[in-house]
Symmetry: C2
Subunit: 640 residues, 2 copies
Amino acid sequence: MNTVSSVRLNIISAIYGNLPKEVNITKIEFEGPEIAVYVRNPSVLADKGEIVKKIAKDIKKRIVIKADEKARKDKKETEEIIRNLVPKEAEIVNIKFDDELGEVLIKAKKPGLVIGKGGTLQNKIFYETYWRPVIVREPPIKSRTIDSILTHIYNETEYHAKILKVFGERIHRELLFKDRYVRITALGGFYEVGRSAVLVETPESKILLDVGLNPSVTGGEKFYPRIDIDQVRLEDIDAVVVTHAHLDHCGMVPLLFKYGYNGPVYTTAPTRDIMALMQLDALDVAEKEGRPTPYTAKEVRKELLHTITLDYEEVTDIAPDVKLTFYNAGHIIGSAMAHLHIGEGTHNIVYTGDFKYAKTKLLDKANDEFLRVDTMIMETTYGAQEQEGREEAEEKLINIINGTLNRGGRVLIPVLAVGRGQEIMLVLNEAMKNKKIPEVPIYVTGLVDEITAIHNAYPEMLSREVREAILYKDENPFTSEFFHRIEGFREDIAQGEPSIILATSGMLNGGPAVEFFKTMAPDSKNSIIFVSYQAEGTLGRKVRDGVKEIQIIDRDGRVENIRIEMEVNHVEGFSGHSDRRQLLYYLRNLSAKPRNLVLNHGEPNAIESFRRQVEREKEKLGLRGTKIYTPQILDSLRLV
Amino acid sequence: MNTVSSVRLNIISAIYGNLPKEVNITKIEFEGPEIAVYVRNPSVLADKGEIVKKIAKDIKKRIVIKADEKARKDKKETEEIIRNLVPKEAEIVNIKFDDELGEVLIKAKKPGLVIGKGGTLQNKIFYETYWRPVIVREPPIKSRTIDSILTHIYNETEYHAKILKVFGERIHRELLFKDRYVRITALGGFYEVGRSAVLVETPESKILLDVGLNPSVTGGEKFYPRIDIDQVRLEDIDAVVVTHAHLDHCGMVPLLFKYGYNGPVYTTAPTRDIMALMQLDALDVAEKEGRPTPYTAKEVRKELLHTITLDYEEVTDIAPDVKLTFYNAGHIIGSAMAHLHIGEGTHNIVYTGDFKYAKTKLLDKANDEFLRVDTMIMETTYGAQEQEGREEAEEKLINIINGTLNRGGRVLIPVLAVGRGQEIMLVLNEAMKNKKIPEVPIYVTGLVDEITAIHNAYPEMLSREVREAILYKDENPFTSEFFHRIEGFREDIAQGEPSIILATSGMLNGGPAVEFFKTMAPDSKNSIIFVSYQAEGTLGRKVRDGVKEIQIIDRDGRVENIRIEMEVNHVEGFSGHSDRRQLLYYLRNLSAKPRNLVLNHGEPNAIESFRRQVEREKEKLGLRGTKIYTPQILDSLRLV
């Protein structure tokens, strides 16, 4: 027998006490952070939406009214009603039912038309069928990832509903301790870039912010964040929060499930999709190279069933004393800053994750408005470095491309599948459209393609210009005629006519980019252009740093000597990270100034140099009272 | 079945391989940090002691040869042999047997005569009886504490032997982790004085350095160090190390046993005895005042059976990757600095505990020679303050006493039962002997008396002068005719003829000192002289700070208003703590300079002020490369 805690009792009383009796509540379920009220007569509430809103506001919880199973219309009938109500132009491609949660998934090419103005049509669907509509966009470029994720979740509705209830009961458990403290512990990504992970600890709860891998190694102890210490007991972790889909921030989340973690993962919808894709791809690559993998696809599938997606600026209870709110971080699609509100205002932490404090073609700039920040954990990747401005960077890129094409060479741009790839596509598309570079084929290979499809599923998360081009102008830059999608490596292209090749991975530590590099490097007509950060220890870093010859062990174990004759360039202005100036602007412009500023996600010289800079400019930045911390891995800081 | 680990296998092989076969080894036991080799024919080794020493040196372990049970002589016969071998002047008072460990306890007034020159007689006793002699001093003032501790341990030989084996197996377990880290976590006594506790953590082991209580409160969360956090799991703690017997360093050790700790406590012999006495006394006082106690006498008794006493400068394995060595700290009798040697030289920590870097009448000054120190955790109680010099302090004390006695007043000196009490006794005894103060009665009350008896049991731990006076000159200053021992409070003395009263507790937070103070305070002829540190929140602190009226709630719950008319003085030069200058000298004179200096055990202004001072004088102190840390409670620092 479950005992109902008084926290939950209070919520239940508020709902019973304030809903009209005639709705006939049949059960109240704590489904993750949401409170689902199942009723026999939802129609009673059809024009009384404000009652539910008021209760939600009073008890500061997310309440969803659902119809009792017995009240819901037959599925076939429901499908007919939906198809009749929704205009043809919405182009519904799929309808699926979740019996457990009483939801109907409607996938459409124009989801806005299913939602209706201000949600009116969505509402109508509910009151005419008693199924709660969940509306999803079918992107113009088909995404296999999203399809298989949704199929997986809708195949496991029973497990999914059950686990949500487990989360819900845990989130709404009783507060046990009178005493208050808040500690953070550096588990990875401090004084280094890679394997990001932070433990946030209160007497009541424990939360992991990111659980990444170290991209500069493929195994050994430095591959993992320090989730092995006793302080991190997986059964005590209340929530894992993932700020974006790069593997250095999410690559070890499935490992938690392998070792028995059974709790939720909070992230945005695009991060969920891309994260799963990146994890599965990493498994593929490791398998092909005969390396052991820290987890298998089974754990990725479990992770997906345990993931709860949140929108930006949606306040969510994730533990009895912690509320999480995501804000746009401008780094890649779906990237988020995590704001943790602890206790009744005991402490507010902002963990920036990776962020860009400047507008890019792809994304809006990172959020700088918070009601309260006591401690800010801030990335410092480029804390020691100023990048070119955007326009300068574009000009430089265009010049290098023109120079190379003019001498009959080919341009290799290694790109991170996520973010930089799409940004460079937008830049190249515009430049070619405006005749700033000659019209040669732009080959896109590796994961970039599938990731681009996912971008198209979430246009509302992209910059205004791109969003509008996709949604209203039917001028989708990602489907432009200049782009040619290819599979993996193609020798004919590497040695063929002048062209531009966008290939993953961005640090030359895997993917078709490595094959292209090996073939193209000895030809001095060619160019390679790095457009993203190159971590210590990666092949990309060595090449960028000017090494003239490189030994590569191929898949058969043979050592190849590669002479690098091609032109090597890097254009940093496209970075998804803020440079030193942008980091400083960010601190200056923050609406609320932190008492503690914790610098992470930077190599030692970046962190030290940025720390000194901030110390010097404290007054100017409005940080007079702020303490600056630069913890090492396994340092813990008590914040309260 | 126990499996024998390869660590233990290697030790066993080395012993079997190097001892002559004829000794006939019957078993090898891991008895705590010692390896006991039980043999049928010990006589084979009678003149081959160097073989055993060589093995011990080779495998870096403490080896003890014991006789197999069957080989040992009958107890009655053994007792006779001992009494015949030992000269009468040794004055044996007691002989007890431990069948489990094959030891015979010989208590004598002159233990040196039982040991014999270079241990020859002790050795002879073993080879003639096949019982290992353990020799203990019967002090000239009888100590009930020591008697009852030894009786307790010798009543529980079976449990004691069993638990030592449990410790032994745990200490000599396999190393499991390739990876190395060392972290310390501040659990109490950081940015404050009281509830000292530090957690030292490696992947292999966890050690608690001190587990004290906060003397300025009697309950509530600030009473305890933060041993309640998840990081401190009692079943994972390998060892508790107690640096000295003041309750702010050891007052919560029994609580660990209450909550399931089952491991060893390492400390010096006088610390063990005084610690138990102080803990039991605190229980008594709480009971009389009707306060709940965090533990009971049962846990103190368990603690005693789990305590392993070490001499200064004796290197001891306390965990598979940690060796502990104690050094004289000069603070009170038995007080130690704890040196932890971690891994094969991975890291060396010195935790100073409370220390005095100056010679006192009672003790030698703290040790400043270490082979290696990477991290020093140093107390900073007087980091912001310079005390009078010793001679100045004595003069001041004598002047105040003379002034008071001359005007017909009485002098109250609240003393910590341990340390300051004995030091002041030595000063007063000398001054009176030399006629610097008139011959009035010196009343000694409270715990001081019993503690003084314990001092007499361990003269080897006192300063050279006192040691020699006790051992060779029969001029024991503690038994001087000037001292009058009384029980508790005596109104006739408080209001009687001019006299000097030494009474516990030193901070007026309990003990007969409070009663004397209440009676003596309103008379302006009287004086009170504080000679030790007064913690924030104690009555002593308020009085020292010059409050003119005080409300005291007596044992019946009545509020009494006490007007303070007496002369209030404090003489800090007797402190058992180093003052700012001594702390700086200590750093300058250290034979090995730490890379990390962690300041603790000080109020915030003491720590901050001392930190700045050290920063300023880094060059001069030879600490150019040293990083200074001032952690807060619940901060963790990674050292390696």
